[in-house]
Each structure stands twice: as structure tokens, then as C-alpha cells.
Subunit: 239 residues, 2 copies
Amino acid sequence: MPNPTAAMLVIGDEILSGRTRDANMHFLAGALTEAGIDLREVRVIGDTPQAIQDAVRALGAAHDHLFTSGGIGPTHDDITADNVAAAFGRAIGVREDARAVLQAHYDRAGIELNEARLRMARIPEGAELIDNPVSAAPGFRLENVYVMAGVPQIFEAMVASVLPTLTGGAPLISRSLTVERGEGDIAAPLADLAARHPALSIGSYPFQRHGAFGVNVVIRGQDAAEVDAAMGELAGMVG
Amino acid sequence: MPNPTAAMLVIGDEILSGRTRDANMHFLAGALTEAGIDLREVRVIGDTPQAIQDAVRALGAAHDHLFTSGGIGPTHDDITADNVAAAFGRAIGVREDARAVLQAHYDRAGIELNEARLRMARIPEGAELIDNPVSAAPGFRLENVYVMAGVPQIFEAMVASVLPTLTGGAPLISRSLTVERGEGDIAAPLADLAARHPALSIGSYPFQRHGAFGVNVVIRGQDAAEVDAAMGELAGMVG
């Protein structure tokens, strides 16, 4: 059975302006690969209602799962929840269970649950809350879209609570070999190897270190025995 | 006059599998902002012909400039040039000026320009070469699409040679203020400030440091005087 597919949508002007370097894409990519879910596409867009709605519709329809990051805080530029709701034609408003989670959190901290913070309890109709063990304000799942925070510590905690609920396919086995030669020297044998193993993904990643060229060759696949066999052939060809 | 707009397409299975953490998006975002070009969207896709062609067509048509990163090396999984050519319905083959650049480079290094390396001289019809001062193999511009290497050192060098040829709008001025309060405490004054200055982009980026919450507020705009005025109002409201 083929693995489930996924896409990710990173939302935030601060990424596109270069102010902030996104960390969530790399984290999610690794976590999904381990879980046997194929991440097929990531889009990064700004805090723009139409861009969010268009991307949620397109990526949600094209993949089994869509994960979003960013734009669910208390300020005026946090517009993800409203636009995910709009993408599905759902109503959105403050929900009592989300308000209760926030109320308990801020009561413990002795902080007022003011109108801005209450924005974080706005949840689209029919959505399921995603637990936030760091700062209480929940994410949510609406259909196959998982809406999560942009702050990496919170994003990672939300992913940890969501992933076990998804049915993953076979995890991808990955083996790598560092070859101290130019990429062009091993391109022909690599192409032969790839042709002999169409079920495997064979990638080559050149580097330059202390003035010398080298290549990290990575062989990935779901069948560990075939990955190991191909790695043996590779070592024989370039070793 | 509004700034020119841009999109970026990052191509490579290794990014989506989590093996490699992309660095080029963050670099390009900063460089474009400095040059007064608005980066509106980034897509990350795998080494898949149809995905590359679809994304090149969609993003190239929607923006003034499209920058791609990755997939122009000598190996079988380097398929970017062929699929950018296909997206524009152009022929592609080894071009003599590109071959001459590679031949000179490998002659100097005493390395054979073999068939695999010669793949890097395949350039779509009508394209203009982009200089690669690091490892010779050129990138290219075809219409409004700039095709560049994935290795960060080479990508950055190619961006440096491309950027001066583009007409940028006014560079974005950016000022920031760190506020040692919870984001929810300043959300209402921030929304007021944003409403009073529709020409500015006002973002708030929460952090947690040594157990205390704080917010970096960033005000961006093309008019330095208005940015400074808004920053003064902000300091008065939350200081």
C-alpha cells in the first residue's frame, strides 16, 4: 500500500521577509518520514486571507493530510483560524472548551484572559482541539487540516500529540555513504544503480570540505533488505 | 509604484524527507527584502517532472520573478533544467558556451569533462547563463525564471550576480522593539497602531526567555519617516 501523502503550509510575513528562519518545515519533514508519511510539498505564504484560503483548499484537496504552522496567536495579524474556517465554509467563534482551557491557564498564571487572548479560543465549527502543553492556546483539526502554532517549541509539541493519531505507511529506511570523489565521477554508476532499483530513491548530495570535493549518497526505500543490497552494490562500484 | 513581486521554488527530495535543512530560502528572503523585491510565496517540491513543470508555470505566471534552487548537478536526479525547458515548451541540449566554461574549469583542475559532467552544459533554447564562480557549472535565466544551484555557497554566489540586474522597488525599512510583556497584553494597542498606519506592516513575534514572556514588535515600510513615527507611538503605548 502506498504511504499516505502530506503537505505543509507555513504562514507568516516574517518568514518571507527573511526576518525569521523557519524551523518547523525541517522538523515536520523528519517526523513524517519516520512515521511513514510522504511529505510532497511545502508552501510558505504571507498573512493574507486569500492566499491562506487558496492554499488550504488546494493542498488539502491534493493530499491525505495538511499541516499548517503559524498565525494562531492573539494579535491582529493572526488570521489563520478565520481563513481555514472560510476555506471550508464553516462558521467560527469562541468555543467554550477552548475558553475553559485558556481561563484555567491564565488563572494559574494570575494573568487576565482579555479580549485579545480570547481570540485564541476562536475555533471553526466542527473542529477538534489539538492540545498545547506549552502555553495552553489550542490548535485544531478541521477535516484533514491540522492547524498548529508557529513557535517551534509549541509546533513540535502539537506534532507530537497529532502524529500517533495518523495511520502511517511503512517507515522509510535510509542509508548513506560518503564518497571522497567529485559528483561527476560517480554519476554514471549511480544512474545504473537507480535503474536497477526503481523502488528505491537514490540521491547524491555534493559537498566541499577543506578544498576537496565529496558526495554523500543516500539510498532510501521501504524494504530494508533491498536498501542494504543496493548499498552493497554502491560500495562495490565506488569503493 | 508597488515593488516587483517574486516567488521561489526549492527543488529536492532531500528537503522534503528531512535529510537536509534548506538554507537558501532564508538567504534569498533577506536578499530580496534588501533589494526592494517582495517575496510572496515559496514552494518546496521533490524531484518530480510534473511537479516542477506545474510549479514553474504557476509561479512564473503569478510573479515578476521566479527563483529556483536545486537539481542542476550532473546526476540522474538533477532534472530541473529539462523540466524548466518543458514548462516553456523549449528545446534543451548541450550549449557550446556552457561546455566551454566547463571544459576550461575541468582542464584547470586536471579532471575529465565526462558525459555526466557534460549534462551541466544542457541549457534551454533562448536562456542566458548565470555565472557560477564556485564550481563553474552555470545556472540560467529563461524568461523570468532564474535557475540556480542548491548548494548554498553556489546559490548565494548566483544570487549575488543576478540581483543587480533586477529593478528593485524601494527597500523596506525595518525597526524593531523588544517588549518584556505577554503578547496578549499588547495586542489591542498594536491593532490600533496598525489601523492608524495602513501603509506599514506591523508584526509581533512572541518569545519565551528564562521563563519570562516577551514580544519582538517589528514595523516595516518604505517610508522611513512613517516607520520612525509609528515606532515612537509604539514606545509611548507599551514603554
